[in-house]
Subunit: 194 residues, 2 copies
Amino acid sequence: MSTTIDVPESSNTKGKTILLGGPARSGGWKKGIAIMDFILRLGAVAAALGAAATMGMSDQTLPFFTQFFQFEASYDSFTTFQFFVISMALVAGYIVLSLPFSIVAIIRPHATGPRLFLIILDTVFLTLATSSGASAAAIVYLAHNGNQDTNWLAICNQFGDFCAQTSGAVVSSFVTVVILVVLIVMSALALGRH
Amino acid sequence: MSTTIDVPESSNTKGKTILLGGPARSGGWKKGIAIMDFILRLGAVAAALGAAATMGMSDQTLPFFTQFFQFEASYDSFTTFQFFVISMALVAGYIVLSLPFSIVAIIRPHATGPRLFLIILDTVFLTLATSSGASAAAIVYLAHNGNQDTNWLAICNQFGDFCAQTSGAVVSSFVTVVILVVLIVMSALALGRH
């Protein structure tokens, strides 16, 4: 009789360790990651909105003009910059909409559903943010340095303020990209460790 | 006495369901994902190498010249295209080096270590591939269409072959990007479901 009672008892403690002990140990760690996730998302919203707004407001009109022309540069001179404004606004909108899911991950640190949802959509919007940031960076580089082989002249000598604004917007978009990469890595770690 | 024996027995079967039942059911499914991962990586290597090689070989010399100039366009006329060749080669190298980890994931479908390693590095190289592809796309767009406001003329009328080669390289890099996104989503699903 004593053996038959002993065996269930030992597996009982095992079962309890798995069911209660495990989660209790890693729960605080996962909750910390979820809170960090939420804070980083707030930063990403600010960076993405800043990038979209700075690029959208970039506009410079030179103080001299000829009979036919007034020299003006604004973001809608470049298709790439238009794409930048639209896609950074989309990224900012997505991150705002993802905040409730991040809060769910704080309340229920063990639910994998919200984390999976966030990691997949984060990857998609990371691609969008990176592509718009990088293509805008390529144009900003051309505006600063020009290209001798194709006879594209640098315009930053004339449009200094415009170049400063667009460069700032590109830097801000790269901040968004870095935050999104960190968010994905954190979500992956939280999903992988039990 | 009967109550104290009943309770351990029920939690014993619970413990067994978690320890044995779960993994046995989802094992084949995870192995399928790991095999798919390996095949997609082979495709990504081909696409990345193709992108780097096509861009690296793009070169066109026009059949007429003046006393001082011979008109020539090659990828090293553009800093962005140089960055494209280097980073796509890096991405191809990384994916080749990641193949052994993908094989480990096939052999041990339940090990989270290799999957975590792959998802984190995949995210980093996704960013690299996306940024090089998008910045090259911005330059290819300018080469095709030019920009009136800054007086940058389209060069694709003269350098048709060069433009076709660089456009092909950009398309190939976007194939790499799409495959990497799919790989990350698959790894996340495999990590999240138990």
